[in-house]
């Protein structure tokens, strides 16, 4: 019983110190969901919550921006009117893979890019794939993105930490 109590206490404790941006900083954030065969799709607003939380706990102020543009134009659209804010573009492509012993396996390919519009050459980027296993056949790309979002947000957090570290020196 004591061990269980200790476990619960530990679970509630923060595991690491979260890096903080030196000054409160605005970040224009766009998340884009697409399918390899159907192009850009509507995503759920709830999908962005985890990324918003990663930003806020690092002293960033997220400013959501809707971006509907082809891949090569998205950053340009996001930068339009940035006015000193950082830019964070998270593009994801969800793809159904197979029925796998009861679940529906999807893969979500993600490209996340963080940049200061004044220093575009210093942009930092991450590309990765998140597998998700949905329970129901009616669940589609938007559900896959929601399911993948804890992992995506974690990786975005790493990007933010990289930016904070590089700007502390």
């Amino acid at each position: 019983m004591r061990a269980l109590f200790a476990l619960l206490l530990l679970a509630g404790c923060p595991k690491t110190v979260v890096l903080q941006a030196p000054v409160p900083t605005q970040v224009r954030v766009a998340t884009v969901l697409e399918s390899p065969t159907e192009g850009q799709l509507e995503e759920r607003a709830s999908a962005r919550g985890a990324i918003t939380a990663e930003l806020q706990k690092r002293n960033f102020t997220p400013v959501p921006v809707e971006v509907h543009a082809p891949h090569h134009k998205r950053f340009e659209v996001l930068a339009d009117g940035a006015d000193g804010a950082l830019l964070l573009l998270v593009e994801s492509s969800a793809r159904y893979s197979s029925q796998m012993n009861g679940r529906y396996r999807w893969t979500v390919d993600v490209q996340a890019r963080l940049a200061d519009p004044a220093q575009p050459d210093d942009a930092i980027e991450a590309k990765f794939t998140v597998p998700v296993h949905l329970l129901y056949s009616h669940q589609r790309e938007a559900d896959a993105l929601v399911s993948a979002m804890p992992s995506i947000a974690r990786r975005v957090g790493v990007l933010l930490d990289e930016w904070i570290t590089s700007h502390q020196q």
Partner: protein, 482 residues
């Protein structure tokens, strides 16, 4: 197995490889003489009633999907129920099989149509509490299918051969054909399908369907056909009746209804399956010391089964408490058999309720209960007491009796609970999951779990018997999809 999959690296072929899979492993020291499972099978809920399992699937994109362009990929899956130190087979590769291999191509000839060649297994959905897929088609077929898929409609026709899937090394061609349709609109889904399997008689093939004439069903289930023949026709063993050719037919029809996304109901799935099982080919007996095949198509061609399942997921208190509730009913009948208890002549019903409360996003508490009844249609099938080994026909000792034990009913209650660590956050079916659980089962049947207690009169003379109707287990287990 992993190194074999990694050979197919993206660099080697200029395409793209993706590896996914599933593993579960458990340590459940059983101090009551059992094998580490709370009950006999997952009718009582999969939790603590299933063993270790591993699966890896490779998807290799020869041509990745892109817009309306043609695409094609290869899927290879290996799976099996054994992991080192976690079960009796100790991770041996003989417990594993290559369960799926198929190639899919899309947008070739017709937009939105996916052509598939290889294994064809398809299911309408899943009952996570039971680890069952009641509405499954083409599970034993290798062949060809064409599927038209949009966001709202899925239509598939398929066909092939289930001969190896059913007969294995005693292959006999079993052409198979079927179709399915499912329609989706927001918050609602309905579908159904069927498949038919036909095994024609093939002159001269020892593996084709036949019936040995002039034999009795009871002699066959007792394994006494040859003995009875020699009693009736002494010295005429060379004239044992030749089997008569037959053809065999079996079929399966499935239905599915799904709805949800309103109020606390996340989703509800209802599945129905009704089918006629494919008949057996033959069994073997010894006729004056030599093996003789007893062909039994006519004895095994009336095995029908009905399975109805319903499972719903509820968000009782959002982000604090979720529930999953399942109900299962099965009815199996064998028109050829009215004399001996069997899995083909019974009905069963079960309900499972799981609650998961979230103390934090990653630390959860789980509680599950299940209640089940299984009833034999052909007399006693279960032993209630330590001395039930002597009980047979109507509960009385009968050395020639075909029944088993002193009751035709098994009632089972299971209660399970414990702590769950879910690194990816809340969700009854969120994985990975690390669990510390305690479970208890109560049954009217004695030692109602996989065990190594005495099963025969010879063992009864050498070992003590134990009567216990409660079974306790502590489990440390982990489960992951990736």
């Amino acid at each position: 197995m992993l190194s074999w999959l990694l050979i197919a690296s993206p660099l080697a072929h200029g395409g793209r490889a993706d590896v996914g899979g599933y593993f579960r492993i458990a340590a459940r020291p059983d101090l009551q003489g059992g094998a580490g499972r709370l009950g006999y099978w997952n009718l009582y809920g999969r939790l603590m009633n299933e063993g270790s399992y591993g699966m890896i699937e490779l998807r290799y994109d020869v041509l990745e999907p892109s817009g309306d362009a043609p695409w094609t990929n290869l899927h290879v899956r290996m799976e099996g129920g054994s992991i080192t130190n976690a079960d009796g087979q100790n991770g041996g590769l003989n417990a594993f099989r290559m369960s799926q291999v198929y190639i899919e191509s899309g947008n070739v000839g017709i937009d939105n149509v996916t052509w598939r060649v290889g294994t064809l297994e398809y299911y309408f959905g899943y009952m996570g509490l039971y680890d069952m897929r009641p509405a499954t088609l083409f599970a034993q077929t290798v062949g060809f299918s064409a599927a038209y898929r949009t966001d709202h409609i899925e239509f598939m026709v398929g066909g092939g051969d289930a001969g190896y899937g059913i007969r294995k090394e005693r292959y006999s061609a079993i052409p198979t054909g079927g179709a399915l349709l499912r329609v989706r609109v927001p918050n609602f889904e309905i579908g159904g399908g069927a498949e038919v399997l036909y095994e024609p008689g093939v002159a001269g093939s020892v593996n084709a369907p036949y019936q040995t004439p002039n034999i009795e069903y009871e002699d066959w289930v007792r394994g006494e056909v040859a003995e009875r023949y020699i009693e009736d026709f002494p010295g005429l063993e060379d004239f044992f009746p030749d089997p008569e050719p037959r053809s065999a037919l079996s079929w399966t029809a499935v239905g599915h209804l799904g709805f949800g996304g309103f109020g606390p109901l996340q989703w509800n799935n209802t599945f129905v399956r009704y089918g006629l099982a494919h008949p057996q080919t033959f069994t073997e007996e010894l006729l004056v010391g030599d093996p003789v095949q007893i062909y039994v198509k006519d004895f095994t061609d009336q095995r029908r089964s009905l399975l109805i399942g319903n499972e719903m997921q509820l968000s009782v208190v959002p982000q604090r408490l979720d529930a999953a509730w399942g109900v299962l009913y099965g009815d199996q009948s064998d028109g050829d058999n009215s004399i001996i208890p069997s899995d083909d002549a019974r009905w069963y019903a079960s309900t499972v309720l799981r609650l998961q409360a979230y103390a934090t996003p990653t630390v959860h508490f789980l509680a599950e209960s299940s209640l089940a009844r299984e009833q034999s249609k052909n007399g006693n099938a279960f032993r209630e007491h330590a001395d039930s080994i002597f009980a047979n026909t109507d509960g009385r000792p009968d050395v020639r009796g075909l029944q088993n034990g002193d009751t035709d009913t098994r009632d089972t209650l299971q209660l399970k609970g414990g702590v769950v660590l879910n690194p990816l956050g809340p969700g009854i079916f969120a994985r990975p999951s690390l669990r510390l659980l305690y479970g208890v089962q109560f049954s009217n049947v004695n030692n109602a779990f996989g065990n190594s207690f005495v099963e025969s009169l010879e063992q009864y003379d050498d070992f003590d018997t134990v009567e216990q109707h409660a079974h306790h287990l502590v489990a440390l287990e982990a489960e992951v999809w990736f």
